[in-house]
């Protein structure tokens, strides 16, 4: 079978597991292309009006895959819970239903199962068994495939913990062992990105914040690189935990980075009209006020003009530079303009 995987939402968390599972069963995977204008247009025109851009983009990816003739089924898992007593955003928990109602004619091509990834491997095995049976695979094969999937996920987590972004993980999915060993080069400045992985890593939707920062020789860390154990104690700064694992990761991970001496500033990335984002942004604001580390919020929507974003990022980097005592002028690559051929010094 040829299975389409939309490159959106939980793709940016569980892709390694899915990759391991499906390829070990011998199914061919078709990833949708990274988000582009066409995908956004598809998504916006096939989704309801008042959901966040991230879910709209997901619609676009699913439609893109459904339109492909060589894709038999599109995998839309329902990730219900990732931690005890924590559930995902209702829109994400309802994804398979949303897709089936948005693409009624192709509803039977949506491949789904409900995942509880919180209580060890058993519920994961159950969910994958459901999927494997729909694909006509034997229980035995499914069992070993799940093991492979979980192994991939563990390797991916290891890569993240060693400082590689999830984009690197996707790129090196076939050889994560090597990626783990590859050292991450240290830059003069480090900026932490706090937010849901799908907002942080969807480079088209967020105006490619990662590359913009890298152009200024800024190193990147993100909240999904952290082991929850290092930030769980930040619960005491919140009245109680948020109800969603990813929101907690963004909030507490952000706080951890605010405290971290290796991080110069924190940028939170979220999509416009995401309710829970407004809460963790406020939490980060309050915490940064106590500690005095710069925090900036980038809220993304359908816009593609990025003058405003460039201004904010440049100003944020200026702020960090001044804080480190480097001043506003003269560095080898001080401007974004270098790239555009505006301001190139002879070497």
């Amino acid at each position: 079978m040829k299975i389409g995987i939309p490159r959106a939402l939980y793709f940016y968390v569980y892709y390694p597991m899915w990759y391991g599972f499906f390829s070990s069963l011998g199914h061919e995977l078709r990833l949708s292309v990274p988000t582009n204008k066409e995908i956004i247009n598809l998504g916006v025109s096939h989704s309801v009006d008042d959901i966040c851009i991230s879910v709209k983009v997901f619609h676009g990816h699913v439609k893109y895959l459904l339109d492909k003739k060589d894709v038999d089924l599109v995998f839309v898992p329902r990730i219900a819970s990732e931690e005890k007593y924590k559930y995902t955003c209702p829109k994400l928990a309802a994804l398979p239903d949303l897709m089936k109602s948005a693409f009624v004619r192709d509803a039977n091509r949506i491949l789904t199962a409900t995942f509880y990834t919180r209580q060890g491997e058993k519920p994961i095995i159950t969910a994958f068994e459901e999927i494997g049976r729909q694909l006509g695979d034997s229980d035995e094969k499914i069992k070993s495939a799940v093991k492979v999937g979980i192994e991939y996920q563990k390797l991916a987590t290891k890569s993240l913990r060693s400082g590689h972004t999830f984009l690197d993980v996707v790129k090196n999915i076939r050889d994560l062992e090597t990626l783990i060993k590859k050292p991450v080069s240290k830059q003069r400045y480090t900026v932490a990105l706090a937010g849901f992985p799908y907002d942080v890593y969807d480079t088209f939707t967020n105006g490619d914040i990662i590359s913009k920062l890298e152009d200024f020789n800024v190193g990147i860390v993100a909240t999904d690189m952290l082991n929850p154990r290092v930030y769980n104690h930040y619960s005491k700064y919140m009245i109680k935990d948020l109800f969603w694992y990813q929101a907690n990761a963004a909030a507490k991970g952000g706080m951890y980075y605010i405290d971290s001496p290796d991080v110069d500033g924190v940028i939170s990335i979220s999509s416009f009209n995401c309710g829970i984002s407004s809460i963790y942004q406020k939490l980060l604001d309050l915490y940064s006020k106590e500690v005095g580390k710069p925090v900036m919020h980038i809220i993304v929507d359908e816009q593609t003009g990025d003058a405003g974003l460039a201004t904010r990022i440049e100003a944020f980097i200026d702020l960090i530079r001044v804080k480190r005592g480097d001043g506003l002028v003269t560095q080898e690559n001080n401007l974004h303009g270098t790239e555009n051929g505006v301001h190139v010094r002879s070497l």
């Binding site: 292309v33 582009n36 204008k37 066409e38 995908i39 088209f204 490619d208 416009f272 604001d285 006020k289 005095g292 710069p294 925090v295 809220i299 929507d301 593609t304 003058a307 405003g308 460039a310 201004t311 904010r312 440049e314 100003a315 200026d318 702020l319 001044v322 804080k323 001043g327 506003l328 002028v329 003269t330 001080n334 401007l335 974004h336 303009g337 270098t338 790239e339 555009n340 051929g341 505006v342 301001h343 190139v344 010094r345 002879s346």
Partner: protein, 345 residues
Amino acid sequence: MSKQVALGIDVGSVTTKVIFVDENDEIVEGLYIRTKGNPIDTIKSGMIEAYNVITSKFGDIEVIAVGTTGSGRQLAGVVVGADIIKNEISAHAYAAIHEVPDVSTIFEIGGQDSKIIFIRNGAVTDFAMNTVCAAGTGSFLDHQAERIGIDIEKFGDYSLRATNPVRIAGRCTVFAESDMIHKQQMGATPEDIVAGLSESLVRNYLNNLARGKELLPKFVFQGGVSENIGIVKAFENAVGTEVIVPKNNKLMGAWGVAMLAKREVEITGQKTNFKGFKVTELEHKTRVFYCDGCANNCEVYEVIENGETIAYWGDRCGKWSNRLTSKVRKNERVDRKSEIINSER
């Protein structure tokens, strides 16, 4: 010896500012012009005008550094040959700190965006820009002044004459406008409406941008809208203390970037990239095309000087802009080489 000056250009969405600063970092000449549809023409005519004024004042001048800022900073930077291209937040803050060293909060409202900048100990510690809409910026005031039929320059005086400002919804320009029309049909005077608008604008600004952050004096208010005495008064009412409007309130961005350009050239010790006032004679064209390299169909902007492309931007992957970097670098090297040869002669 000819007078040495640094040039600062701030290409905003509504107005363009061209200024010269002297060796003491003082503005010796400043121009404030509407950007209209064509920023390149505006920059050029501004430069000619500024050049004429300054040469009639000081005779011969020598431009030692050039900086550009504002939303059109890239474009201005390639056209004139800038030494530094700086975002407007840093440029504005730099000038404000220069003018009022112990400033803590800067309000800046321009044509299409508004910013708040927090300064502690002479360094920017935080900033915010308006996010999704342009409510309460210069363009909106312009539009409303036109609709009511009063001169934008007199807007401030109107609101000072108000006896009983009406309350206007400031959250969104569409609602603000319908609110204003409603109040005017109910019989409110233009003075009260204008004053109400100023208050709502300030309220909206502080709610949106300051968002519970600590507002400490001294306050500096700059940008085109700071010309409006009614808004200044509304700010003073809101924060409960004096709000300083610096003497170059409309030119702060250009001033800041001119000073930064001077610092840049001083530190690097390199000759300015400034192409000279002859750029006004060169022909500049811009072209927008859709790249069909991938499904993104990026809008790519191309700047053409005398038939030769000098800049690309807008491509997300760098397919076009990278292509050029090497070329520009080559040209620049050739330039520098020929300069050395010429100077050796």
